[in-house]
Amino acid sequence: MKHINYILGICLSVTLLLASCETTELDLTSNPNALSPEQADATFFLNSIQVDFAYWVSSMGDRGGELTRINYMNGRTYNNVYSPDSWDGIWSSAYRGMLEDIRLMNLIAEEAGLSFHIGMGKVFQAYIMLTLVDYFGDVPYSEALQGAEGELNPAADSGEAVYDASIALLDSAVQDFNTSGPVPSDDFFYNGSRLKWIKAANSIKKKALLNKGDYSAYSAITNYITNSADDFQFSWGTSPATPDTRHPLYSSNYTSTGGGEYMSNWIMFKMLNGHAGNTDPRINYYFYRQVSETPGFDSNANEEVLECGLPGYYVPPQYRNDKTPFCAPTNSANNSAIGYWGRDHGNDNGIPPDGFLRTLRGIYPAGGAYDDESFTGLVDGSGAGGAGITPIILSSWMHFMNAEVAVSTGGDPTSETLTAIEQALNKTDDLGGPEISASDISAYIAAFTSDWNAAGSVADKLDMWSTEYFISLTGNGIDAYNSYRRNGYPRDLQPNIEPDPGQFPLSQFYPANYVNNNSNASQKTTKSERVFWNSNGPNNLK
């Protein structure tokens, strides 16, 4: 009997061992739900970087445009807009998204001799770092991206050091493009043209030098983007989902419940008035009106949807003159708004149900609808379906910058300004809509020239120069934010609707995920801290 019991016991133990093998495996540490870093591909990294870059520039450009009245800025005070946590996504996309991907891509690309990939990565990296410094000031660079080595609290490098490193990076990128690495299978920007990439790198370098005030080095660079065939821009698609490839501004303007964004009254006002009675021909490409009459201006006021159009509505004192619009792109000098419907800078009112009444973005640059005066409410899918562009550097911008350097070195900005305006006008119909005729272009330029010649002082000319520059910067206001802080023009930007909005932000609050998680980071006390290249900038910005 005992033997049987022992045998039973042994059988039991053996069965146990066999049955429990799967349950005793102790080395289950790798994650089956993701790839591991050894399985990476350099071209796949480059694809992610290019698409992330387009979204990133669009977001940064949006905010720069809001501050400079190219777009509408919600309000009210300058201290309240752009809270630290509203920058979290941008910070994360820049460092964890793009810079980390560039670093990992370079590890593979250097071994495999993919110098074209490396060159493109350097161009993106330089642009990203320059823009981060332009907005925030001192940011981490030399100690960044070392989380895997235990550096969890990278200290910030001075803005100047980051600028110099980025400029060096652009020179090194040019050399990479001159080496014979293979062309990546998907180059979203230039389809594999080395010459164009070199021009783009040089153009970004010129931009950085202009901020630093180094005019001689600026003028020494001659191989840059001079005409629109070389424009550095990202082209979006029309697919609405999985993936959504539409221009980001398109998806917020064209929805099933109407517009989700307001247009800036200041820019519509400027374009509507144009020069010498000539409305800017670009206005029908930039904006689409869903109604032909703005209540309170062209027809009876409607308190529900446009309260400020009521007769006798309180106008803040800083708006009571003819240089600035109020409530609609018009003022007491010319009272009709012919259906243009936007918002004033800093207006933070609640949203009435005006989604199908307010003015939407047009076909340039967001790939929306051309304003053919059909005056209907538009939903998603209308117009060009989102096939717009996000401009990173356009040829017209380079000519505007050349004009600025000319003025700063004692020369005449006229010819560069006129070239810039002509190129900007020609570009506007590239995405669709009827072609702007050559006669319209020359009529506008003639009108501009007559106003320009009639302008009394250089300051008045610079007001005109900067207004045209800002209009052409629609779609990416990063350079507008930089230019306004450098120069202080145009002086007649629409004031904040709040009479006491605080100082115009000369830099932004650091993102919350930077200051809250990094023991070497501390938040700024105010947004009046200047970026290093702006230490002698004008003081009277509004």
Partner: protein
């Protein structure tokens, strides 16, 4: 559903029956049946004076700061052209909102089809929207249990069947459950004992979608049935306005651009459905080696298969385009847990000492396997099959973790009045690096019964006394794969030249090979006593629990290249006291019996050390609003943005210096400081429950009160009800407001209107404005039951019949929260996880009342 495991082994036992030792074998059947009505308990007190609009002017807005329902007065509708007849033709009536919708919404084109005349009028008056939206639900449950044993007690069995049908008060919310279980034990003649249990549960669960809201539609993707219902403006007829376009199936509602999704459309066109089948149980076999030693093997299994469906028809008006074009997801979650346990136990008596011990090894294997498909882009409205959708995407996730442990335990008693227990355990886990994957944790406890050791202590006053002290440890292990470095691939990241672009991007979680298991050490002292002939019973417990190396997900600065990592926080200390008292005031055999029980507890969890190169880790919620671990502060601390304090600075997440003055800006609103500070503590000061039981012969009455003192909650529900002018707390609104504070060095005298006060400050001001004290009391339970007297049922097959009528959560009051909101703090707004103290318009609370019957034969 994850089963949390702190003691190393999950032991699932169900009734195996029992021998009614000594009595003749009686097979007993028990039937329990109950029916309860379930009602919405936290209905706010909606005001009946003012309707839709802003600044007392009418508009089809989200808010309720519009004209009053009276014609006269400064806020009267007589001054509103939309309402006084100038536009509609009839005073007191508006043009029906659907007749003034923009044509791009498609609503004007279908007026005929929904029975609305182009000149239809709409009455300006308060409507009972929220009250009519919720129904009275019910819970109907039946249970039958059969058990029995042989007369010698060697074999016993138990069978149980239960059925539950729960229809909630939210439309579209139901739960149906069936359970069946078997169990039994048999002592075989050859020193073997075998036993086993097997349980089978089938649950069908359906609900409309619920997600977080901030008082303005739903936040993020998806829809939420609660997000818009509670702040429906008083003058909007939620139940009366048609909700669906009969031609396209889209949602339609009162805004001119149709930008709010009709809650009834959500109920009828979106749902989460979960059908779960679960089997769990085990078998054990033990062999008596001799009179004192026993060898046993136990096998446990728990497998559930959960089939999920989540869908929204196309035509919604919330979220991104993907959501509005229709979504259909189906996936299966299969979770399996297998347990093996081998154990030798012994029981010896040596002189006056008794010794029992256990030695063994066990293993536990957890596997979670998720597979499914997500389809977007519905083509034919209402058809919910994958072939009807444009794009497919994968849903797939796998997680497997094994834990092996070895343990030993011994208990020694001296004459049954001194007890000493010693134990130790070592565990190995599979998802940590080899040098960090094992942990040893010992424990020891002793207890002493003075009344048994020194019988002379026993008296009329002291019937029983026991003191105990113990030191216990347990361990916790992380889930998923915290040490792995990852890379992501997206095969549909963009489209170029008509084809998909594939992209790689680095993983955002930093793998941490230094991660260690958590270890919890607890010291406890307790006193148990019974006094006055056992009428007064007391159990007091004082404990100090230290958690070492608590595992949390730590957010990182993205400039490191990563956004988070799993890490061990140094040391958290939890101190508390728990007291249980019960008193039998009146005792008699067939007269009145009255007794009361009190349970009182308090607990403080303080972060002692973060052990990291940081001084704050936000472990739940969002980076700037959530629960944070800060050295020296409570673990339940809530951080967020606050009102700027005049003359003060922020140190260690608190305002220091200054005189506490609140800074008011030149617009008359509070100035906001974004740098997070501690704005509240979710941990209550103390919690108490008092239950009373009164009985007279066969009738008994029980009632239970719950109390909570302290504890803060961030409530979006309360802030929205106030901020949008919906409850009776906001009736006084026609004059101006001045916020208490300091403006430019002087006491604030800037006047602001009602919407700036309530909307811009209470609802959308600094996070600090949305913190409320959650102290509350509650009548948790009341019940009356009657047991039929033996004389009545002696001649029937029934052994016992009793009937009970009861009510749950019938009354409650959150004493420091605005009266009109009737908010019930007893909800969990951040779901399963470590977060506490948040409500994001997630849901109402329930009360139940009904009756149950219990029969035994």
């Amino acid at each position: 559903m994850e089963l949390k495991d702190e003691m190393g082994v999950i032991l699932i036992t169900t009734k195996s029956g029992s021998s009614a030792g000594g009595e003749s074998s009686k097979n007993e059947i028990t039937i329990n049946s109950s029916y309860f009505n379930v009602d919405f308990a936290s209905m706010p007190d909606y005001q009946m004076q003012y309707g839709n609009g802003f600044d007392q002017a009418f508009g089809w807005f989200f808010s309720n700061w519009g004209p009053s329902f009276q014609e006269g007065g400064p806020a009267g509708w007589g001054g509103q052209s939309s309402i006084n007849g100038a536009v509609s033709g009839t005073p007191g009536y508006l043009r029906h909102p659907y007749t003034t919708a923009s044509s791009a919404t498609g609503i004007p084109q279908i007026l005929n089809a929904i029975g609305i005349d182009p000149n239809e009028l709409y009455e300006w008056k308060p409507y009972d929207s929220v009250g009519q939206f919720f129904n009275t639900g019910h819970v109907f449950s039946n249970n039958i249990n059969i058990r029995g044993a042989t007369s010698d007690g060697t074999v016993n069995y138990n069978i149980n069947y239960g059925n539950l049908e729960d229809v909630g008060f939210t439309p579209g919310n139901t739960v149906n459950r069936n359970t069946l279980s078997f169990g039994g034990n048999a002592q075989l003649s050859n020193k073997f004992t075998v036993g086993g249990t097997l349980n089978f549960t089938q649950t069908k669960f359906k609900t409309p979608p619920v997600a977080a809201g901030y008082g303005s539609n739903v936040s993020g993707e998806g829809a939420s049935v609660f997000a818009n219902v509670f702040y429906t403006p008083r003058s909007v007829d939620l139940m009366g306005l048609p909700f669906q376009n009969p031609v396209t199936g889209e949602s339609i509602y009162y805004r001119q651009n149709n930008s709010i999704q009709h809650p009834l459309w959500t109920v009828n066109n979106a749902s989460n459905i979960q059908n779960t089948n679960r089997v769990f149980g085990g078998t054990n076999i033990s062999y008596g080696i001799n009179d004192n030693l026993n060898l046993s093997y136990r096998y446990g299994v728990d497998v559930y298969s959960e089939n999920n469906i989540n869908y929204t028809n196309k035509g919604g008006k919330t979220g991104s385009l993907v959501n509005r074009n229709g979504i259909y997801e189906t996936w299966n979650n299969t979770k399996s847990i297998y347990n093996h346990n081998v154990n030798i136990s012994g029981d010896y008596d040596i002189d006056e000492f008794g010794v029992t011990f256990n030695l063994g090894v066990d293993s536990r294997s957890d596997t979670f396997d998720q597979n499914g498909t997500r389809s977007t882009g519905q083509q034919v409205f209402g058809v919910l099959r994958h072939f009807n959708f444009e794009q497919q995407d994968e849903i797939q996730f796998l997680e497997k973790r094994n834990i092996i442990g070895a343990f030993a335990q011994a208990e020694i008693d001296y004459n049954r009045f001194v007890y000493l227990t010693l134990a130790g355990r070592k565990d190995w886990v599979s998802n940590l690096a080899p040098e960090n994957r094992s942990i040893i944790y010992p424990s020891a406890s002793a207890s002493f019964i003075p009344t048994s050791a020194f019988p002379e202590i026993k008296s009329d006053k002291i019937s029983f006394l026991k003191v105990r002290a113990g030191y216990g440890t347990s361990a916790n292990f992380p889930f998923e794969y915290p040490i792995a470095a990852t890379l992501n691939i997206d095969t549909q990241s963009f489209i170029r030249n008509g084809g998909y672009i594939i992209s790689n991007t680095s993983g955002s979680v930093l793998g941490n090979p230094n991660l260690k298991p958590e270890r919890i050490d607890e010291i406890e002292f307790g006193v148990e006593g019974r006094f006055f002939n056992n009428r007064l019973r007391m159990d007091l417990s004082i404990y100090n629990k230290k958690t070492n190396d608590l595992i949390i997900s730590r957010p990182l600065d993205p400039s490191t290249g990563y956004t988070s990592t799993q890490t061990n926080i140094g040391l958290i200390e939890n101190k508390g006291v728990e007291l249980d008292l019960s008193m039998d005031w009146i005792q008699s055999d067939d007269g009145i019996n009255f007794s009361t029980s009190l349970n009182w507890s308090t607990n403080d969890a303080i972060v002692i050390d973060l052990g990291e190169d940081t001084d704050r880790i936000v472990y739940a919620g969002f980076g700037t609003l959530g629960n944070a671990a800060i050295p020296g502060e409570s673990l339940g601390s809530i951080i967020g943005s606050s009102i700027t304090r005049v003359g003060a600075t922020i140190e260690n997440s608190r305002w220091v210096g200054g005189d506490g003055g609140l800074a008011v800006n030149n617009q008359g609103s509070y100035d906001e400081t974004f740098d997070p500070t501690i704005i509240g503590d979710a941990n209550p000061d103390w919690i108490a429950n008092i239950s009373n039981s009164l009985s007279y012969k066969n009738l008994s009455l029980n009632f239970l009160f719950n109390f909570q003192a302290g504890g803060d909650i961030y409530s979006t529900t309360v802030a929205t009800l106030l901020g949008r002018g919906l409850t009776t707390d906001t009736l006084d609104r026609e004059l101006s407001f001045i916020l208490p504070g300091i403006n430019n060095g002087q006491p604030n005298n800037k006047q602001i209107n009602n919407s700036t006060f309530y909307f811009s400050n209470v609802l959308y001001g600094p996070d600090e404005m949305r913190m409320y004290d959650a102290s509350h009391w509650r009548l948790g339970e009341v019940s009356i039951s009657y047991s039929l007297p033996k004389s009545l049922i002696d001649n029937t097959p029934f052994g016992n019949i009793s009937i009970t009528a009861s009510g749950f959560n019938l009354f409650y009051d959150a004493i420091n929260m605005p009266d009109g909101t009737n908010f019930d703090p007893n909800i969990a707004g951040v779901g399963v996880g470590n977060g506490r103290g948040f409500d994001f318009l997630n849901g109402p609370s329930a009360k139940r009342y009904g009756a149950s019957v219990k029969l035994t034969f």
